[in-house]
Every structure is written in structure tokens, then in C-alpha cells.
């Protein structure tokens, strides 16, 4: 998050005292809770200089936007914090608190903020630390590049690095090495080793059962020693596997780890064999255990937690198998009876992790989600199990959700609209199922938009320039009676007319005219509860950027928020109608976008599509900003049902000539996105902070 620094002149401004300070604090902190008094806090702040006071007021306001208690906490602790921290450290302290809130909730944030001395020690400890937050975005893209299968990155408890095969858990900070740069490199190496565990079969394959192999030591006093040995042996094997595919990366790992401990040298040959597998590691493990030695310490040690990993892996394998089964059923036709002996389908080319299948000698075109599932199975099991390659019969895919609607929320007024909803199990619509209420968005702080404009003034200038260039798309209109240039074509015609005796035309000029853009864009903003915190901040900032950009372009656009609580109350909040100007009221409503309830996306898409269709534009564009999968309270919308309904709604929009584009802030969601957005196009942002920076570019790409 960027912040507007107090201007340098404020340093010389007189300090704020008593009542004045109290009023300003009241504005930022207690806009909604009047039961607390700012008097005590204000007294504490009187000792600070004006620049510090302004800084505190700024941060308290920012924090209170996220969660009021944090703003209060920061204001209370500020006097002590300023005695310990310089300006930069103060910013870092607040940001760390907000970050802790986003990651672990209010309790963690409060604990972190209160521990001023601890924070000070961590920062001032002179250790060149690398922190998870600074490497997260770059590293997660790196891992995505390596894996193809989406893997999340997250901070684990303590200093250990481990994975449950879906998420790579890394320490919050690394200070083991003397330079910050090498600590960052260590982050990369740890993440790579964890990725390699998931990629090269550390947790077993179709023929090797890790849990069974570990049984002699599990639940004994030797358990930890055995797991450490397993992890160390695996890191030797995995490094060799990495070296075969990614020699540059393997060299970086080798540099970082230094020479292997001498006690391990006899073990290296077997583990370095071409295509060494977990079986080789497990064959060496008993010998290591019998030596009664502890596993040697490696600088890039990554732990193995078989319980968590095997559980998650098992769930994923089951899910992937079903996906694949279903896709193959669909391909062979649902009438085909399951036939286990069907030799027609055989997996090919398992070696290259490219999944190719043949079906009766023809290339078998699997839908993307099934291809991803097969790919994923190949990584987990080393093969696509034969039982996946026969149709699954007539069973449902996921019958885990409860049947029937949630408790009806009885509203006092009739819904403004009722919309059908797609039930994928019935393969039919539920008629008039969703009740939709449309109302005006809440007004927020009138100054919010101006603050954002000041904070991002450079970027906004840049965006405007780029968009003005788009608008300036000129076209030459030929054969005009007057204009700035001669139209050679017209002149040639005139001359040929004249030489053939016909009367030449006097329309011999071309004139430059501006191309009329005929595009209407509808922005649909997720206001569900899960956006609370930085996602909401990012959404509001993104809206400001968008408005600035599109205003300079002159396209028709509208902004609506959506949220909901069961099918009987889907709410649509008007933020800007197509015919409204980007005025004070609209700006206040942008500031008032807040996190509310749940994400029932289908009905919102249907309603906004209808609004969009009323626009007389040639091209209609529906852009959704959301933070993850559709979800609703208490009924089956969560899960497959919601994904299928959303997909259906986007399909309907397309059939009516509305193009949709979905911007999602969800790194872990990539598995369902391709299916859900199917017909629409989409982009996934790995970092919420990027949304305001990227949104204008996304729009430009769509609309030029």
C-alpha cells in the first residue's frame, strides 16, 4: 500500500493540541462508534511533533478503514512507537499489523502491534533479512512457471518449510545467510525444493505407498529422526532430478548448500541415478536409521509432513479422477456402459508430463479441465490410473452439498426482479429462483477519491495520456468538398473523367474525423464479506483509476456492486448508472463500497446484462471484479452449483451479445476459473495491490 506522506511543510506547522486533535481523531476513528472518547488518546499524542501527528492520523485512518480496532490500537500505541521507531520503521510497523490482519485476523494483528519491542528488535537486529512479503509475488509466479499446476505460497508457523502438496509453506523471515540477497535466494531454493517434492513423487506414486513405508517409525520416538532422514535423502534425489531439467536452478541450489556432508557420500550414487525414485530413497532409509546418527543439517532443509500431504493429495487424486472420468463419459456418450476391459484408451507419453491420449487411434480431445486433471494425476501418481479412463457411469460428480435451498430470508418488500438460476444437476433452470433488490450504494467519505487521486497522481497522468491517444484515433474521410489534404484517388478519378469528357467531381479533398467509439462497459464489483480488508481497498482504488481512464476516453460506463444473502435476497448496489456523470455523488458512492455478505454471482451477472442490453452501443462489455469463487450462505451455491450457474449466466450474456471479462484476485483459484469463465475471458491477479495499477491496462486491452 502506498501512502501520501505528510508534506514537508507540515513539519514546521504548529503542533495540534487538545480539542483540535480530538476532533481529527474522532473523524478518523470513531465515525461509527460514539461510545469511546478520543480524549485520552489525544492527550497522549500531544507530545508528538506535527509531522508525526499527521503521519499517525493518516495511518489510523487507513487502518480504521480496514478494521476500526486496529486504527484505535495504532493511535494508542503511537506515542511509544515513535520513541522506538524512525519514520520508516513506523510505516513498516503499521503495514506489518495490517498484513497480519489480512493473513491471520484481528488477534494476530493486535499481538503484533502491541509487541513494539519485538518488532523493533527484529528490524534493528542488523540482520539482513529477507521477508516473505517482499518475495511472495515474484516467487509465486516463478513456481507457477515451474509447475503448471497451481501451488499456493503461504507463511507457515515457525521456521520450517514444508508443503501439503497444494500450498508451499515458507517461513515469514529468513536471516540465516549474511546477505539479504542470498536470503532471498534461499527462499527461492526452499520453494523449489518443495515444488520438487510435489513434482517428483516424494509423497508416493501409484506403486509406492509412503505411509506404509514409514510405518516402522511413525508414532515412535524415532519418528522425527526418520522424517528428517527422509527429507535429507529426498533433497539429494530431488536436486538430481531438478538438474536434469533445470540445470541453472540446480547450480544455484548447489552453490547455496555447499558440499554434501561426508557421512552422506556413500548414499549419493544411488540417489543421483537417472530417474531415481522414492523407492531408492526408501531403500536407503533403514540403513540410515540403523546407524543411530541424526540426519545431517542442510542449509536448504525442507521438512516432510506425511500426514498433511497424503491427506490433501488423496483428496485431490479423488477429485481429479472424477473430473477425468466424467469428461471421458461425456466423450464416449453417456449411454456407453462402463467397461473396465475397454482397451481403446491408453495414456501415452507419460515421460514428458504431456498428457496425450488416444481413443481408437484418434487423438482424444479432452476439455481443458480434464486435461489439467490428467496432468495433475500424472504428477501425483506417475501414471493416469486405468480406472479413470472408463466412463464413470451415471453418477453425479459432487453430491456432497446439501440438497435444497437455505433458510428463506423473508424480506419486507417484494423483490425488484426475479431471475432464473441454473441447476446443473437438473440441467434446467429454477424459475424465478433468485430475488433481486436494487438500491443505491452507500455514500462514503467525500474526500476519499481525492486522496486516491493525489496518491496515484503520477499513474493517473500516465493513464490519461495513454487513453487520450486511444480516443485520438482519427480517420480520413475521402472525397470531401473541402479538407486539409488532397484526395489523390478522387483527383485521379476526376482527371480520368475529364479526359473521357465527363464532368469531373469537385469533391477532391480528405478531411480527418474522429472515430466514434460505440462501446458500453459495465463494471460489476464484488462486495462480498471476503473482500473485507485490502481487497476492498484495492477495489475502490481500482474504480477511481477506471473512472479517470474512461472519462478521458468518453466510453459509456456504469458501476454496480453486488452482494447477497441466500437466493431470496440478492442485492445490487448502484454506484454509477450509465447516464450519470462522474460527479461528487458517484465519487462518494465509490468511497462507500464496502464488504457485505456473500457472492451469488449468477443472478448479478444476469441483472447487469439486462441493464447493459438497454445501452444503444455496438459493443457491450461486462467486466467483473471479484476475489474468488461464487459462494452463498447456507445453501448449495458454494461449490459446483455456483460455478456452473455463473458459467451459465456468462454463456447467456454471450448469447445476447455481451462480452464478459473477469478479473479475479485469487491465486489459489486457478483450477475452477478456466471452467467457470469458459466463454468469458479472464485474468488472475496474484497480488491484490496490483489491481489499481493494472485495471486501466486491462480495460485498454479490451477496448482498443
Amino acid at each position: 500500500m502506498t501512502s501520501s506522506e505528510p508534506s514537508s511543510s507540515s513539519r514546521k506547522d504548529p503542533r495540534l493540541f487538545g480539542e483540535e486533535l480530538e476532533t481529527r481523531l474522532d473523524e478518523v476513528l470513531f465515525a461509527s462508534h460514539s461510545h469511546r472518547s478520543a480524549t485520552r488518546i489525544a492527550q497522549g499524542l500531544e507530545s508528538l511533533n506535527r509531522a508525526q501527528q499527521e503521519k499517525l492520523l493518516h495511518w489510523a485512518a487507513v487502518a480504521a478503514q480496514t478494521y476500526a480496532e486496529i486504527g484505535y490500537q495504532i493511535a494508542t500505541l503511537a506515542p511509544r512507537a515513535f520513541t522506538l521507531f524512525d519514520d520508516e520503521a513506523f510505516d513498516a510497523w503499521v503495514l506489518a499489523g495490517l498484513d497480519a490482519f489480512d493473513r491471520h485476523g484481528a488477534r494476530a494483528a493486535m499481538d503484533l502491534l502491541r509487541d513494539l519491542e519485538g518488532f523493533h528488535a527484529d528490524r534493528g537486529g542488523e540482520r539482513p533479512l529477507a521477508e516473505f512479503t517482499e518475495i511472495e509475488a515474484r516467487l509465486s509466479r516463478f513456481i507457477q512457471g515451474l509447475s503448471g499446476r497451481p501451488l499456493g505460497l503461504s507463511v507457515g508457523a515457525g521456521a520450517a518449510a514444508w508443503t501439503d502438496t497444494e500450498t508451499l509453506y515458507l517461513p515469514l523471515k529468513i536471516g540465516a545467510l549474511p546477505q539479504a540477497e542470498s536470503n532471498r535466494s534461499l527462499y527461492k531454493v526452499l520453494a523449489t525444493m518443495l515444488w520438487a517434492q510435489t513434482r517428483f513423487g516424494t509423497f508416493g506414486s501409484a506403486s509406492i505407498d509412503l505411509a506404509a513405508a514409514l510405518t516402522p517409525w511413525l508414532e515412535t520416538t524415532d519418528q522425527e529422526r526418520a522424517l528428517n532422514w527422509l527429507a535429507v535423502l529426498e533433497s539429494v534425489r530431488l536436486e538430481a532430478r531438478i538438474a536434469a531439467e533445470l540445470p541453472g536452478l540446480a547450480a544455484e541450489i548447489a552453490t547455496l548448500r555447499g558440499p554434501w556432508p561426508t557421512q552422506m557420500e556413500p548414499l549419493l550414487v544411488r540417489l543421483h541415478q537417472h530417474q531415481a525414485s522414492l523407492a531408492d530413497t526408501l531403500a536407503l532409509l533403514p540403513g540410515c536409521m540403523e546407524s543411530n546418527e541424526d540426519a545431517p543439517h542442510l542449509p536448504h532443509f525442507v521438512a516432510i509432513d506425511p500426514d498433511a500431504a497424503l491427506r490433501v493429495r488423496g483428496e485431490r487424486i479423488a477429485h481429479d479422477k472424477e473430473t477425468l472420468n466424467r469428461a471421458i463419459s461425456a466423450l464416449k456418450g453417456s449411454a456407453a456402459a462402463p467397461n473396465l476391459d475397454d482397451p481403446g484408451i491408453a495414456p501415452l507419453a507419460a515421460e514428458s508430463a504431456e498428457v496425450a491420449m488416444s481413443f481408437a487411434e484418434d487423438a482424444l480431445a479432452l476439455p481443458p479441465e480434464a486435461r489439467a486433471a490428467a496432468q495433475s494425476l500424472l504428477q501425483d501418481l506417475g501414471e493416469v490410473p486405468p480406472e479413470c479412463l472408463v466412463p464413470a457411469g451415471t453418477g453425479h460428480w459432487q453430491e456432497t452439498q446439501r440438497e435444497g435451498g437455505g433458510e428463506d430470508y423473508t424480506s419486507h418488500r417484494e423483490p425488484d426482479h426475479r431471475y432464473d438460476e441454473w441447476d446443473y444437476r437438473r440441467k434446467a433452470y429454477r424459475r424465478g429462483w433468485c430475488h433481486l433488490y436494487e438500491c443505491e450504494g452507500r455514500h462514503g467519505l467525500a474526500t476519499y477519491v481525492d486522496e486516491v487521486r493525489v496518491r496515484h497522481s503520477g499513474l493517473i497522468r500516465q493513464i490519461r495520456r495513454r487513453f487520450e491517444m486511444l480516443r485520438g484515433e482519427n480517420r480520413m474521410l475521402g472525397r470531401q468538398p473541402e479538407g486539409e489534404e488532397i484526395d489523390i484517388d478522387a483527383l485521379v478519378d476526376a482527371m480520368s473523367d475529364r479526359s473521357s469528357g465527363a464532368e469531373p467531381s469537385d469533391r477532391l479533398f480528405c478531411r480527418r474525423i474522429r472515430n466514434e467509439r460505440s462501446l458500453a462497459a459495465m463494471f460489476m464489483v464484488d462486495m462480498s464479506g471476503s473482500t473485507k480488508g485490502w481487497v476492498n481497498d484495492a477495489e475502490r482504488e481500482a474504480l477511481v483509476m477506471l473512472c479517470e481512464a474512461i472519462e478521458s476516453l468518453g466510453d459509456a460506463y456504469a458501476i454496480y456492486g453486488f452482494s447477497g444473502w441466500t437466493r431470496t435476497r440478492s442485492d445490487i448496489y448502484r454506484i454509477k448508472r450509465f447516464d450519470e456523470r462522474y460527479d461528487e455523488a458517484v465519487r462518494a458512492r465509490i468511497a462507500g463500497v464496502e464488504a457485505k455478505d456473500y457472492t451469488r454471482m449468477g443472478v448479478a451477472i444476469r441483472h447487469l446484462t439486462q441493464l447493459l442490453l438497454r445501452q444503444p452501443a455496438r459493443h457491450r462489455l461486462l467486466i467483473t471484479l471479484s476475489d474468488g469463487r461464487p459462494d452463498d450462505f447456507g445453501d448449495e451455491y458454494r461449490g459446483q452449483y455456483g460455478i456452473e450457474d455463473t458459467r451459465r449466466a456468462l454463456l447467456e450474456a454471450r448469447e445476447q451479445g455481451v462480452r464478459s471479462y473477469c478479473v479475479t484476485i485469487d491465486r489459489h483459484g486457478a483450477d475452477y476459473l478456466a471452467h467457470m469463465y469458459g466463454v468469458a475471458r479472464y485474468t488472475v491477479l496474484d497480488d491484490v495491490k496490483k489491481l489499481p495499477l493494472k485495471i486501466a491496462d486491462i480495460y485498454r486491452r479490451l477496448a482498443s
Binding site: R138, G148, V492, H619, T683, D686
Partner: protein, 272 residues
């Protein structure tokens, strides 16, 4: 005088030498069948996957001249069909590339058709159905295409702009062939052959391509194309260090975003 005019006439390219093309499916047989049945074809696929090379190869294989037009948003009907020019005190008609291709019974390839203005694209409609004629309005002439004339157009479905899509009335006249990046083993052969590098370097380059394609949709619009990999290979073949070559030809070519180029640099270093 007439000599100066012929230089203005569009060049029909006769492809004498077999262009290198590695088939990845049944596209050659389909193209030949379409040619035999006088059907126009539409080549779909991401940038740099070999669409243009395929057309060159087919022109050589079918022994037809080739006319290539790179479409852009200022392309007018006159640019395709032809126009009058003034030479001395007379007007002289000069065929545009499309008319020239029709008269010569050549293969006419309109590259990146979506870039062209919609009103321009309409002139190809009567050529692309059973009529197979081109109306040259300015001369009041209907040019009937000989059996050897063939139309091929290409487009990249990965473009996200709503303003750039082919109208159904256009696309439903064409036999569509799907192109994509070839699978790793074949792509390595292509990179080695085109770039003049050894098999190991080619394999690493293809691995880099695969890694960047994993990032499609997560910050990159497109992963590295086969063409980009060949460029990197060519740099390496002339003696540029692999790291520098990949950074320049792949990482910087794919993105301007500083975070993204950082990640791409990491991927380059992982492979070399």
C-alpha cells in the same frame, strides 16, 4: 513508362526452395483437400506458432505463387483490389495484391485478418464462397478466380479486444485449421534446425518456453512463441551467451512489467 508501372504492381512470390516446415498433425492433408475442393481456409493460432511458414510451405508444395498481405486498420478496399494511378497525363490501373492473386491463380494469404477494417473484409466474401469472383468496382469488372486460386486468412484467437473479432458471416466461409505450439520433442527439433543450435540447447530453450507458457493468464498474455525461442537460438548460434540471449530475446520481449521480467529472469536462470 510501362516499365515504371510494372514495378508498382504487386509481387507474386514464387517459392523455389522448400521452406522448412515440421508438420504437427493432419494440417497438410486438410489444406490440400481444401485446395482441391477450392475452399478457403482460416488458420487459427497464437502468434509465432508457424502459421505463415505453413502457408509458404503449402505454396511451395502446391507450386502456386503466394501473395501475402499483412492486414492493418487503415487497410482499405482499394489497397486490396487496386487503384488508378496517374502516369503523365493518363490514368493507369494497377491491380492490388488480391486482384493480382486472383488473376494469377495464386494463394492469397491475409495475415491477422482481424486487424483489417470490417468494411474492407467484406470484399473477400464473394471470393470465399461458391461464386469465387472478385468485383473490381472502379473498372466495372468481375474477375473470376481460376481453380488454382486459393484464399487463406489467419487470426489469433488469444486477442482479448472485443473490437477485434471476425464476424460470423466472414468466418463461416472458411475451413478452419487450429494451430498451437508443437509438443516439446518436435519443438526442440524445430528450434535446433531453425536456430542452428545443438539438441541440448534447443531442449533447454523449449523448456523455457514451457515455463513461460505456464504463466499465461497469470501476468502474461501469451507465453514465449516458437518464433521467440528460435530468435534466442539464433542469437546463441552467433556466439551470444545463452543467458544474455534468452534475456533479450525472450524475457524482455514478453513483458515490460518489472515484476514480471524479474520472474522471467529467474526462469531463464533456472534453465541455463
Amino acid at each position: 513508362m510501362s516499365a515504371s508501372v510494372t514495378t508498382l504492381a504487386p509481387q507474386l512470390t514464387h517459392i523455389g526452395e522448400e521452406p522448412y516446415y515440421q508438420s504437427i498433425g493432419d494440417e497438410i492433408a486438410l489444406f490440400e483437400a481444401a485446395y482441391a475442393q477450392r475452399l478457403p481456409v482460416l488458420l487459427k493460432g497464437p502468434t509465432g506458432c508457424g502459421k505463415t511458414r505453413f502457408v509458404e510451405y503449402m505454396a511451395w508444395r502446391l507450386k502456386r505463387p503466394l501473395v501475402t498481405v499483412a492486414c492493418h486498420d487503415d487497410l482499405t478496399t482499394a489497397d486490396l483490389v487496386g487503384r488508378y494511378l496517374i502516369v503523365g497525363n493518363e490514368t493507369v490501373w494497377v491491380d492490388g495484391p488480391l486482384t493480382a492473386a486472383v488473376r494469377a491463380g495464386a494463394i492469397c494469404y491475409l495475415d491477422e485478418i482481424v486487424e483489417a477494417r470490417k468494411d474492407t473484409i467484406v470484399v473477400i466474401h464473394p471470393l470465399a464462397d461458391s461464386r469465387r469472383v472478385l468485383a473490381v468496382d472502379k473498372r466495372g469488372e468481375m474477375v473470376t478466380a481460376p481453380d488454382t486460386f486459393m484464399m487463406a486468412i489467419s487470426y489469433n484467437p488469444g486477442y482479448q479486444s472485443v473490437l477485434k473479432e471476425i464476424k460470423p458471416s466472414t468466418r463461416q466461409r472458411f475451413v478452419a485449421l487450429d494451430f498451437d505450439y508443437p509438443e516439446a520433442a518436435i519443438e526442440a527439433v524445430i528450434v535446433a534446425r531453425e536456430g542452428g543450435v545443438n539438441a541440448d540447447t534447443a531442449r533447454r530453450l523449449v523448456k523455457l518456453g514451457e515455463l513461460t507458457r505456464n504463466l499465461k493468464g497469470a501476468g502474461l498474455d501469451e507465453g514465449a512463441s516458437t518464433r521467440l525461442l528460435v530468435h534466442a537460438a539464433q542469437l546463441i548460434a552467433t556466439g551470444v551467451a545463452p543467458l544474455a540471449a534468452c534475456t533479450a530475446a525472450v524475457a524482455r520481449a514478453l513483458s515490460d512489467d518489472q515484476d514480471m521480467t524479474g520472474t522471467l529472469d529467474d526462469l531463464v536462470r533456472a534453465v541455463f
